[in-house]
Symmetry: C2
Subunit: 349 residues, 2 copies
């Protein structure tokens, strides 16, 4: 017996006919508790546990042995730990809306799964401060999640929100995986443009791009045997970077052992630069984009090149961020320093 769709209860997508983009609506999420950043009005009485204080640690629901808000108890995990998000934006079996047939009121189904990946048993470390072996374990978990969720879902988005300023509701080192039965806006644009380029040149866009950046050497931040970190020519956020393999690799699951080890080393190199930029534990959102999965596993996805993007909000110092507001929301993104200037600063650290 299938439940019938109710817009105020079930996740779904809606189409914006003015921009051609979709929004994911997850009405049941309003029930989740809030542990993240609250604004200045309440800043003085904010009671976020201090992650560095051992006494405060048992309060953190992501720690080994802690009980989470929904009553579940975490195992005494010793390295990584994956669990289903207790307040998921997507659910695997949610009913789909019936299409209205009206092009101004288009909706779509939004089946999916949300998981949380804890990187480490301690709350006071970050990826950049973990050992290479420990980061390698996180990379393995990412690969397992893509392999597992990719069997059933079209898109598996791995992303990390780090820091209060990025709305991160928990200071414990962790990331999230949201897998969707639909291809979201951003990867869908990237699929389209990479496909067009490949059709024209017979080579993947990002493979060509990296080759040229390695010659120009104006925007390279970190380079290792198998990986490059660079500030893209078209970066939006002040210290945005892209992390890419030198070889043509479509998905995280296609990396070989050397590339995996190199990735751990490269990530640690980047993150320690980030932390040194303003002498704080640097906030960002990051995530992986590779060839779509699900039904795409059987399709030609040669045009795709794996990459991670890091979007840090800070502009001038630990306390001055870049706001993507008025002009940015209504017209288009605007940045102050050039990508070359940002790359210079990061490279020199």
């Amino acid at each position: 017996m299938t439940e019938s769709f109710v817009a105020s209860e079930h996740p779904h997508t809606r189409y914006n006919p003015l921009t051609g983009e979709w929004v994911l609506v997850s009405p049941h999420r309003t029930k989740r508790p809030w542990q993240g950043k609250t604004n200045t009005v309440a800043e003085s009485d904010a009671s976020t546990p201090d992650p560095n204080s051992m006494a405060a640690q048992p309060a953190n629901p992501l720690m080994p042995g802690a009980s989470r808000p929904n009553g579940k108890v975490n195992p005494m995990y010793e390295s990584t730990f994956v669990f289903e998000n207790d307040f998921p934006a997507l659910m695997p079996d949610s009913p789909s809306p019936v299409d209205s047939g009206n092009e101004l009121f288009r909706t779509g189904g939004a089946q999916g799964t949300c998981r949380v990946i804890c990187f480490h048993p301690r709350s006071d470390v970050t990826l950049g401060k973990m050992s290479q072996e420990e980061v390698l374990k996180v990379i393995e978990v990412w690969r397992e999640q893509i392999a597992d969720l990719g069997k059933r879902f079209t898109w598996v988005q791995i992303f990390e929100n780090r820091g209060d300023i990025m709305g991160c509701s928990n200071p414990h080192p962790h990331c999230q995986v949201w897998a969707t039965a639909f291809l979201p806006n951003e990867p869908s644009k990237k699929d389209f443009h990479q496909k067009q380029y490949f059709a024209k040149h017979g080579r993947p866009l990002l493979v060509d791009y990296v080759a040229q950046e390695l010659q120009k050497r104006e925007r390279i931040v970190v380079e290792t045997d198998h990986w490059v970190v660079l500030v893209p020519f078209w970066a939006v956020w002040p210290f945005e970077v892209m992390l890419l393999p030198k070889r043509h690799v479509r998905r995280l699951t296609d990396l070989n052992d050397e590339e995996k080890r190199g990735l751990a080393e490269t990530m640690i190199g980047l993150l320690s630069k980030y932390d040194r930029l303003f002498d704080i534990s640097f906030p960002y959102s990051m995530g992986w984009h590779g060839a779509p999965t699900g039904q795409y596993l059987e399709q030609d996805t040669q045009h795709w090149q794996l990459h991670a993007s890091y979007y840090p909000p800070l502009l001038r110092s630990a306390t001055i961020q870049k706001f993507m507001v008025g002009f940015e929301l209504l017209a288009g993104p605007q940045r102050d320093l050039t990508p070359e200037q940002a790359a210079d600063r990061l490279r020199s650290l």
Copy 2:
């Protein structure tokens, strides 16, 4: 003698070949002083002047008679006041880059002008607390700016960033106008989709949309004789609304006297609801979109319908905002409550 283009000094645009979108780069902006929000690290020693304290007022560079950071002194204005932004992201005569001919490194010129419009001589009022006559004067200034800058520029973006949380660097009631010689990403998508719809149906998309919303009455927040405020079916921000005329109107400059008065009344109605939602002076970014100007003044722009969009960041209370981070930046926007729930709450206030 024209200056030659230097990427680290002159405003320009860059193309993202992965997404097909452009970013505006304004490297000279890093020189401007910072008066806006700083983050929690420094919150305790933030020294933003309190706009309600008369003693603090002389410090505010937007007040009548105040001297601005660049030494210019404001006139003793009694209603509105427009001036060229002292630290503009765009300049009318900046040189354009020479196109590299390389499709992975595309740049464009970015001529334009940035102005500031002060709404009122006092720093302690907001648009929603001004009289209808006073708001009408602001509407007249908006029209004048579109008429004036629209002669030379393709796009005239009027926008207001309100509140610390929206990166507003000054509490004095004001908005900005950024005029560009290029059509930015957002209006360019809207131009494309409205044109397609018009070609198919012979009617403007948003005129059809409003007619249907007025019948459904599920997402209407305020309705007056000539205007409608609604939460769009595809809204992204929790309490996002769109403000539209009932008649087909392409630009602010096309409004008649009754519509102008009605607009002042409708805006005050909306803003007082916003302020009551969480019992605070409600933060948002808002802006106007209408048919492009410049060379478009001589083209057919019947497919365009004038509208303002309001994007408020708050989700649950005065202190809990919606973060557009990880999944949103990497995949696509996600919202918690439905547009219908948001409209219900706003309507009932």
